[in-house]
Each structure stands twice: as C-alpha cells, then as structure tokens.
C-alpha cells in the first residue's frame, strides 16, 4: 500500500474518530520487498524546460540497512501512462522493466492495448541504464534526448507520521509545530525518466498516472 495515502488515511480516520485502521497501520513497515508497491509519483518540468520528468518510487520505508538488499523485480513492469486528449485513457506509455543489472525503457509510444493488461513495446525501445547500486554514485544514461535512472534514492516524501501515531493513540488532538519528518533517513527504489515534451503529443497539458504490472 502507498505510505502517503495510508498515513493520510490513518490520520483522517483517527481524526474523525473511526477506529478501524490498526491493521493498515501495522502493515506500513512491511512494504519493503513488495516490488509492486508504488509509494509516490512525481511529474515536473526538467532542468531543461523543454523536458518533463517522471518519477515512480516503489518499496518505501527502506532503512539504510535494508536498502542494499532491495531490488527491482524482473516480473514487475512499471508503466507511466499518458493521456493527451482528456479522456483518462492512455494514449502513450513509457514502460520500464529490469533485465539483469539494467533497467530497460520503452516509449513514449501508443500502447498495444489500453487498460489493465499490457505487453512490452519492444519495437519502441528507448534505451537502458545500468541499475545504480546502494552507496555508489548515480548512473544515468541518455539516448535520443531521453534520460534514464533506476536505483535507490532518498525518499523525497515528507510527513509527520509519529504525530499521526500520537493522534491515533488518542494522546494528541492535532499536529505539532514544528512537526518532525518521520521519513527522514529512509529510502525508496526510484525509476526516473526525463522526456522531451515534443515526444508527448501536441496538447497543452496531459494526464499522468503510474501502474505496476505483474507478468502472468
């Protein structure tokens, strides 16, 4: 489950006085090792204003000690879906999947089929990058104007989880000021791709979402 969604959910449930989230709460530390779990999605303009950057983070709450052993899964494909005509159906996809010590990227390209099932668009290979190792410098690759990264990074998400716990426990009625970032010192596995806007269609805006898809 997504920690960000989860924690907000917990807090809101607690705030509203509905006490039914203990199981979710207990689940939170156990997300390590579930390669399907998306923790956060980011989409923003790159350093080069002609580009957009897409970030899909998975396997949240990795302690430094657990990060070296966290790996991408060859049976889990990360798919960035892009709708450029406002119907919330993907017109383009960017796919990423691990093979060996590399992450391979495909697209942006029209999907073979829209919806919950996908095949990898091997005729739209975009490039690949060696997966960066914990503790080593980031390895990036560039091809045809696109940039690629895959590997552990600091979790960019920030939130006062412990105060939520206090609220859950009924020992606090609101947040502290200042709060404390419970995600300080934790990592995620990031898949990052930077794409020239010209490769994303001619619309002035797009709708974006990420999916993880498991090989059947």
């Amino acid at each position: 489950m997504k920690k960000s969604r989860l924690y907000l959910g917990l807090s809101l449930v607690a705030v509203s006085g509905l006490i039914l989230m203990a199981a979710d709460h207990a689940d939170a530390p156990a997300v390590t090792g579930n390669a399907n779990d998306i923790t956060d999605v980011y989409a923003f303009q790159g350093q080069d204003n002609n580009n957009l950057v897409f970030v899909v983070n998975t396997q949240g709450l990795l302690s430094p000690g657990a990060t070296a052993n966290a790996t991408f899964n060859e049976n889990v494909m990360t798919e960035i879906n892009i709708d450029n005509n406002g119907d919330n159906v993907e017109d383009l996809v960017i796919q990423a999947i691990k093979r060996g010590n590399k992450m391979y990227f495909f697209g942006p390209t029209a999907p073979g089929m829209t919806g919950t099932s996908s095949t990898i668009k091997t005729n739209a290979a975009a490039g690949s990058v060696q997966i960066s190792q914990y503790g080593a410098s980031a390895i990036t690759a560039t091809n045809n104007g696109m940039k690629f990264f895959a590997g552990p990074r600091d979790d960019p998400f920030f939130f006062d989880l412990n105060q939520y716990k206090a609220i859950l426990a009924g020992t606090a009625s609101g947040f502290n000021n200042p709060g404390t970032d419970t995600f300080a010192g934790t990592n995620v596995l990031s898949t990052i791709v930077e794409v020239p806007k010209t490769m994303l269609g001619s619309s002035s805006s797009i709708n974006v979402w990420a999916e993880t898809k498991q090989k059947q």
Binding site: L8, G9, T114, D154, F158, A210, K213, Q214, Q216
Partner: protein, 197 residues
C-alpha cells in the same frame, strides 16, 4: 495422355516454385537474422533479452495521499488499484463523497470553491494533470494541479482542502503537519532525487 503430360509439367513447375519459394524464404530469413544481429549489437546487448508475456495491473497511483482516505482498507483498496482511471469516476465518486462527509461532517466547500460532489468527482479519477508549459506544481497558491514537484508539500495541500473549509482557516490543528520540506536537498539536475541514506 495429354492431360497426364500436362499434369507432369504442372508438377515439375510446382516443385520449381516450391524450391524458388524456399530459396526466397531462406534469403529473407538470412537478411532478417543478420538484421536482428545488427540491432542487437546496436543495443549493446550480446544476450538475447526476453520481454515477452502479458503484464497485468497490480497497483495504480497518480495523486498523492488521496486514495486511501476514500477507499476502505483491504479488498476495496486492491480493487481500486486494479481499476483503470477512465472507469474510476463512475464507480467511486459517490463512495468518495460519503467518505469525505464522514471524515469532515462540516464540509461545505474547500479553498478551491469545490463542493463535496465537485471535489470528490475530481479526486475519484486518479490522474495527475501536468502542464506542458510553465510551472509544474501540485498547488503553489496560484497554480493548481499542474504537476507534482519534489518539494511540493502535498500533505498540507490535501489536509487544507479536506479540513480547511472555504477560506482554509477551519480546523487549524489539522490542516498542516508542519513538516514543510524534505530531509535532503534535491539536485538541480537529473536524476533530481537526493542520494540514498
């Protein structure tokens, strides 16, 4: 007799055609094979990489920190994660609205002027709008849902929209967690995220 001879001729012609066809096939096959080898070399992969198979949706996410608020834990959450965005609105808007009003029974409108139906109608379809020109941010006081930047304080934005009322001043103890930035400085260039701890 005549018919038989003609038949033989036809047979030999047929065999020749098969041989020609096979030759052509062999030539085509050779060309294709060499083309495959060439493209493998271009991709700097000496090994055969298998990308075959069908991949089925297990998780879906766009906007941060919203879905779990509005979807019950357990199988409903899994169901939502396996739903495509174009089908979410019809299935989940009313669910989201009920949940919103259960969480904040005093909800009227939020700082964006959205009533419960409008707000949950937006949220139920979990896609992230991203502008292709100008600022990309979840919400910066001016731009709304034009992307999600790394430094965006999305938790505060959502708490504010859910609890803050039309002017953002209601329930002041619940509208910010007062954690306003990440614990590491982001990079100005690719890959932008800070190195792991």
């Amino acid at each position: 007799m005549f018919g038989q001879k003609q038949n033989k001729n036809n047979n030999s012609t047929f065999k020749e055609n098969i041989m020609k066809t096979n030759k052509i096939k062999f030539i085509v096959f050779s060309i294709l094979t060499s083309a495959v080898f060439v493209s493998c070399n271009d991709n700097d992969d000496s090994t055969e990489t298998d990308f075959s198979g069908t991949y089925v949706q297990k998780d879906q996410m766009a906007r941060p920190a919203i879905n779990t608020v509005f979807i019950g834990s357990g199988s409903p959450k899994d169901d939502f994660n396996a739903t495509i965005p174009s089908a979410m609105g019809a299935t989940y808007q009313s669910v989201f609205q009920s949940r919103l009003l259960a969480l904040n029974s005093g909800y009227t409108t939020n700082a964006l002027g959205q009533d419960a139906a409008t707000f949950t109608g937006l949220l139920a379809t979990d896609v992230l709008g991203v502008a292709k020109t100008g600022t990309t941010t979840f919400f910066d006081g001016t731009n709304v849902l034009t992307g999600r930047a790394l430094a965006d304080d999305v938790i505060d934005v959502e708490l504010l929209l859910i609890f803050g009322g039309p002017s953002g001043t209601s329930n002041s103890g619940l509208t910010s967690d007062h954690v306003n930035a990440n614990d590491k400085t982001f990079l100005t260039s690719f890959p932008y995220l800070a190195s792991a701890w």
